[in-house]
């Protein structure tokens, strides 16, 4: 009997989210793991490559395997590399990826974006829909690559309908092993907060996000979706509940917190270009995704925060 299992390429395989996605797909699909950081060791039957997707060698992966779907999770975080390198990897790399997908007849692409693309501004209404303008690049040059990746994906969404692109914009994804800015921040014992500001936030456990990615892949309903629970908490409550002590940072004049962040080299957890996200809310409406895919998060906010609380009790 011929093998009917689909072959799925997962980028960013060394990350906490991708590892969970791979674990869920393993067995039911042929999984191929790709990461630019290191060759990931997972199951023996999962081919794994250390490769940068904007480099030429990436095409060999497509030549070697007949790939049916791509879960594009991998992204270089701002604190990992400089702006040019990040732009090359995130924007040019994704463009390369889309082109390869067209060339090799990939039938489905899931793009893991972020709620940061909406931009944090005092004028944001709450519960932003998917068609709200993406204003992040108005706020800072450092988020240009996130917005451009989105724009690029949206161009391919209509230019190459055969790719069945699904763009997911999750809120803060948190939990064990997650290395994004917010997670690195909550790991710390002492956390900066802007005096007089405590915007609303939404958080998602990394396991729920992995479920969401798998649901989006298996049900294949192309489009753009916010991924967020119907539960909300202020930033300062989140900091307290994660067992962090608060370090008050003066918020007036508006340039001051950015200067403090640069001067103290807080790039990995409270970077100057994200300061506005700690000041103004970016609350997204996750109804469309929840209804379309029949998905609801199974872990509560307290489940998420308790991980950070417990993490602080461990001896280091």
């Amino acid at each position: 009997m011929t093998d009917k299992k689909k072959t799925v390429l997962v980028t960013g395989a060394a990350g906490s989210l991708a590892k969970r996605v791979i674990a869920r797909l393993h067995g039911r699909y042929h999984v191929i793991a790709v990461d630019f950081r290191r060759k990931v060791e997972t199951e023996p039957d999962i081919p794994s490559y250390k490769i940068e997707i904007h480099k030429r060698g990436f095409e060999d992966v497509f030549r070697r395997h007949k790939i049916d779907a791509v879960l594009h999770i991998g992204r270089i975080f701002p604190h990992e590399h400089d702006r040019t390198r990040r732009y090359n990897a995130n924007v040019l790399g994704s463009k390369k990826l889309f082109e390869l997908c067209r060339k090799y007849g990939v039938a489905q692409v899931i793009v893991h974006s972020t709620y940061y693309v909406y931009g944090a501004s005092a004028y944001n209404p709450a519960l932003l829909d998917e068609d709200a303008p993406l204003k992040a690049s108005e706020v800072t040059q450092d988020l240009v690559d996130s917005v451009e990746l989105e724009n690029l994906a949206q161009i391919y969404l209509w230019k190459a309908p055969e790719l069945n692109i699904t763009i997911l914009r999750p809120c803060n994804v948190l939990g064990p092993g997650v290395r994004n800015t917010m997670s690195v921040l909550l790991m710390r014992p002492l956390v900066p907060v802007l005096v007089g500001f405590s915007p609303m936030m939404q958080c998602l456990h990394v396991d729920d996000m992995a479920d969401a990615l798998v649901a989006a892949f298996e049900q294949n309903k192309p489009g753009i979706y916010n991924v967020a629970p119907d539960d909300y908490v202020t930033y300062q409550t989140m900091v307290e509940q994660s067992g962090c002590r608060k370090l008050p940072v003066p918020s007036v004049p508006p340039m001051l917190p950015k200067m403090i962040s640069s001067a103290l080299n807080w790039g990995s957890f409270f970077p100057p270009y994200l300061v506005n996200y700690f000041k103004y809310p970016v609350i997204i409406d996750g109804r469309l995704f929840r209804q379309t895919f029949g998905w609801t998060p199974r872990r509560s906010l307290n489940d998420i925060f308790s991980y950070y609380r417990k993490h602080k009790l461990l001896p280091h």
Partner: protein, 283 residues
């Protein structure tokens, strides 16, 4: 004078806990718990309303409502106890005390309390603390998307269609309705939310403004700076809630919408006249 005694009594209290208990009485807690208002696992909703902040806010508003402005409210049985609603009122008094007191009447309504939501100016979130406090007790920036989504989730929203035209007007123009925006009518028609007209009497006298210091307002980036008392005076306030009015989606032109807005304005004028007739003394 009752209010002054109360403040004196409050200042003597040693611990914050007992001060809190003085403000957030069991009555207040009971009213909050009876509100049909869904919140998340930490007591917040998407717009930042927070139960604990609302308790404290209602406690303070209750003192203002009962002791300082000695509000007389008629027609509170017209406040829907469930479901979406728009409360449309005349705006006056420089500071939005009218909004606070209408909110007070809604939250303290013995027939069934509602968590009042108010649309506020877009500059509030940029002010440290003030933004967080206002958000916590139920204010949101006046964006149509906010309003639509809140009505869809069956919130009760206070809107002053006059905006700063009403609140910033001078004392000599008191009790004259300024131009109404049509936005609220479109929202009501779109979401099927009933409109409850409210006539407010007394707030004009809380902060009579004799001139607008325009250059200073421009310098501070504020819509207006009144020349008059610095804090609200303890004028008696009369609120008259009219019967809820529903509008269908049949108005096809902006003219037809304006006609409906005029209808609401007439209702509010009528309710204001009722309050003015009832009032025996300003203070």
């Amino acid at each position: 004078m009752q209010a002054f005694e109360k403040v004196k009594a409050l200042s003597r209290l040693a611990s914050r806990e007992s001060l809190y208990r003085q403000i957030v009485t069991p009555d207040v807690e009971d009213q909050i718990s009876r509100m049909p208002k869904p919140v998340g696992s930490y007591g917040y909703d998407a717009w930042g309303y927070n139960e604990n902040a609302a308790k404290l806010g209602l406690g303070v508003v209750k003192l203002l409502y009962e002791k300082y402005f000695r509000v007389v409210a008629h027609g509170i049985e017209n406040i829907p106890t469930q479901g979406r609603a728009l409360f449309i009122a005349n705006h006056s008094g420089q500071l939005p005390m009218d909004g606070v007191l209408i909110g007070g009447a809604m939250a303290l309504n013995p027939h069934g309390p509602r968590a009042p939501r108010a649309m506020v100016d877009r500059f509030f979130p940029t002010v440290p603390w003030l933004g967080s406090v206002m958000t916590g007790i139920g204010a949101v920036i006046g964006d149509p998307l906010n309003c639509v989504k809140m009505l869809e989730q069956d919130e009760a929203i206070i809107v002053f269609p006059e905006g700063v035209r009403g609140s910033g007007k001078l004392y000599r123009k008191r009790y004259q309705l300024q131009r109404f925006g049509n936005g609220f009518m479109h929202l009501a028609m779109q979401t099927g939310a009933p409109i409850v007209p409210v006539g407010v009497v007394g707030c004009e006298e809380t902060m009579p403004s004799f001139a607008n210091i325009a250059p200073l307002a421009k310098l501070l980036g504020l819509p207006y700076v009144p020349f008059g008392p610095l804090l609200p005076l303890p004028a008696r306030v009369y609120l008259n809630f009219g019967e809820p009015i529903c509008f269908d989606n049949t108005a096809t032109s902006e003219e037809a919408v304006t006609e409906r807005v005029e209808l609401i304005k007439d209702k509010i004028r009528e309710l204001m006249a009722r309050g003015l007739a009832e009032r025996k003394s300003v203070f």
